[in-house]
Structure formats: structure tokens, C-alpha cells
Amino acid sequence: MKITLNGESRECPEGTTVEKLLDLCKIDKNRTAVELNLQIVPRKELSARVLKDADILEVVTFVGGG
């Protein structure tokens, strides 16, 4: 199935959880926030949320700013 992660289309095996995807992408869960189809996914739910085809994920962190 295909999902969109931070604006880029990606192939993703069926049954992948949000947490698994973050791990695959080497994203530090403790420094990020995740939005799935415009809804925030609380950190404690990352391991339970299974991705579906055409899901849109945004994963954000802090960068330099004023």
C-alpha cells in the first residue's frame, strides 16, 4: 500500500504501525509529534495505530526559529 509521509509518497507493508514506520525512518519519537490525516496521534497510541492505504502522515520536530 501507499502512504504519504511528510509530503512524499512511500510504499509501506500492510499492517505497519505508525511506530514501526517511525523506527524504519530512524525518527526519534521523543522529539517529534505525529499527525495522521490531520489528527494528532498521541505518543502512547503510536504503537497501536495501524496505517491504511492512502494515509497521510505529518511528522514534525523543532528547528531553529525566532
Binding site: 509521509l5 511528510n6 509530503g7 512524499e8 525512518c25 530512524k26 525518527i27 526519534d28 521523543n30 522529539r31 517529534t32 509529534a33 505525529v34 499527525e35 490531520l38 494528532i40 498521541p42 505518543r43 505529518e58 511528522v59 514534525v60 520536530t61 523543532f62 528547528v63 531553529g64 526559529g65 525566532g66
Partner: protein, 261 residues
């Protein structure tokens, strides 16, 4: 504590449930390198650093947070780049979800060239975020009417711009800042426009509770040295304000007694 230190001691700056000794807030954008930023933050003596919320770069494991000691500095995420209340609210919620801060520097812009705030969208976003329990520090223009409305909406701090963001023009309308201060019941922190140390001193001499700056330090030729200058300027201005300056006179007044021989 010795006698002099005690007599010049200041009360802490309280914002929502937080207390700070330093009254200088410093941004983390536009430094020549992460190392310089880290040193500049330390030289500034700040306790609050602003950050922006952006997409994680996949396969890039470097992080701004590797260079910021979150035990030492309170993280103040901003909503920079948002042009509607909805975008700013979404950004603030994501920032809080990182678990690092429930403070937000709310910034809803109205124009890409001036980066001036959109007062209507800013007020809307303030109302929503206050209701959701955020500690809202809200960026606004130097207009006293909207500043008051933002305070009434529950902002923990109102942050009028001294001049447009990144312009380095200093405090363009001291009188407006004075009017805002006259009736303010929450801390007033001038945010944006500071170019050099004297700008910070002027802000603090007016009686503002703090200053937030970024570009003035980050793009100075020597950011670490400028950060130290801003720290001293902030402390100087605050001390001068608390001391109560002499009134200005048109004519001279001798400091020495009249000559008597």
C-alpha cells in the same frame, strides 16, 4: 548574598506558571552554525529559547535539540509562518504533543513582506489556545487596543513588536509601548525589531518585562559577543528602570556646589 547584591535584587519574571530570572528570550534561527548558536545562548544568559515547528527530514538524524540543553532552557515553540488562526492552532497543538512545552509563542501573520501580525486571526487563535490550556505568549503589533484585547482573552504575556521581524530598526514607537505598559496586567515582552544592545536597554528602561530577539544576535558578525552585549543591555535597562531615572531638564544643573573662595 552580599549587601550590594541584595539591594539590587530583582523579582522573578512570572509567565503563567513559570518563573525566570533572565528577562532575555533568545531565538535559535539563522546562526552560522549550531555550535555558534549554542555558545550564543549561553553567553546571553537566557532561560527561554524559541524554536519553530517543521517537518522532520527523513534520514537526517541531526537535530537542533542536540545543541539545546532542555534542562537548562525552557523551550518556547513558535507558530512562525502561519497565516491563519487554524494553522497556528494546529502548529501549537503539534508543538505541545512533543511533550516538551505547553508554552507557545503565538504568531499569526498577515502579510509576507512585512511579517506584521493579523490581529483578528491572532485574537481568534489566542481564545482557542487559552481554552485548551496553553500558556500563550502572543506576538502582536504595538497597537495598545489589540494588546489589551489579547490580555483580556487570557494571554499569559503580550509581545508587541518594536519594529518588523528581522528589520533591526529598534523601537519605532516608544509611546505606544508606554501606553501598553500603563494598563498591562500581564508581562509585556518586546518581540522583534531589536538590532543592537541599546535597543534592548531602551525596551527595558521603558518598563517592559522582557525582550525576545533572534536576528540581532544570530546575524551579527560575532553572535556570541553580541549575545553577551544583549544580556548586559537587558540587565542595565532593567536596573535603570527600577532605579527611577532623573527627569530631563532643558537647562544645566551643576553637580558641584557653587564656588565659595
Amino acid at each position: 548574598m552580599d549587601k550590594i547584591e541584595k539591594s539590587v535584587e530583582d523579582k522573578k519574571l512570572k509567565i503563567g506558571g513559570y518563573e525566570f530570572t533572565s528577562r532575555l528570550f533568545v531565538g535559535t534561527g539563522k546562526y552560522p552554525s549550531m555550535e555558534v548558536m549554542s555558545d550564543a545562548l549561553e553567553a546571553s544568559g537566557t532561560e527561554v529559547v524559541t524554536v519553530a515547528v517543521r517537518r522532520v527530514k527523513i534520514d537526517d538524524t541531526r537535530s537542533l535539540l542536540d545543541y539545546i540543553d532542555t534542562k537548562k532552557y525552557k523551550i518556547l515553540p513558535n507558530t512562525a509562518g502561519c497565516y491563519s488562526a487554524d494553522d497556528a492552532i494546529r502548529t501549537a497543538r503539534l508543538a505541545r504533543e512533543t511533550g516538551m512545552s505547553d508554552m507557545v509563542k503565538l504568531e499569526v501573520l498577515g502579510n509576507e513582506k512585512t511579517l506584521l501580525p493579523d490581529p483578528i486571526e491572532t485574537l481568534k487563535a489566542t481564545q482557542v489556545l487559552v481554552k485548551e490550556g496553553f500558556t500563550v505568549l502572543v506576538y502582536t503589533s504595538d497597537d495598545p487596543i489589540i494588546a489589551k484585547k489579547l490580555e483580556d482573552a487570557g494571554a499569559a504575556s503580550v509581545m508587541p513588536a518594536g519594529a518588523p521581524i528581522g528589520s533591526g530598526q529598534g523601537i519605532l514607537n516608544k509611546n505606544n509601548i508606554r501606553i501598553i505598559l500603563e494598563s498591562a496586567k500581564v508581562p509585556i515582552i518586546v518581540d522583534a525589531g531589536v538590532g543592537t544592545a541599546s535597543d534592548v536597554t531602551i525596551v527595558m528602561e521603558l518598563g517592559c518585562d522582557g525582550v525576545l530577539l533572534n536576528t540581532g544576535v544570530a546575524l551579527a558578525k560575532d553572535p556570541v559577543r553580541m549575545a553577551k552585549a544583549m544580556k548586559l543591555a537587558c540587565e542595565s535597562g532593567r536596573l535603570a528602570f527600577l532605579s527611577g531615572r532623573i527627569p530631563k531638564r532643558l537647562y544645566a544643573k551643576a553637580s558641584s556646589p557653587e564656588r565659595d573662595f
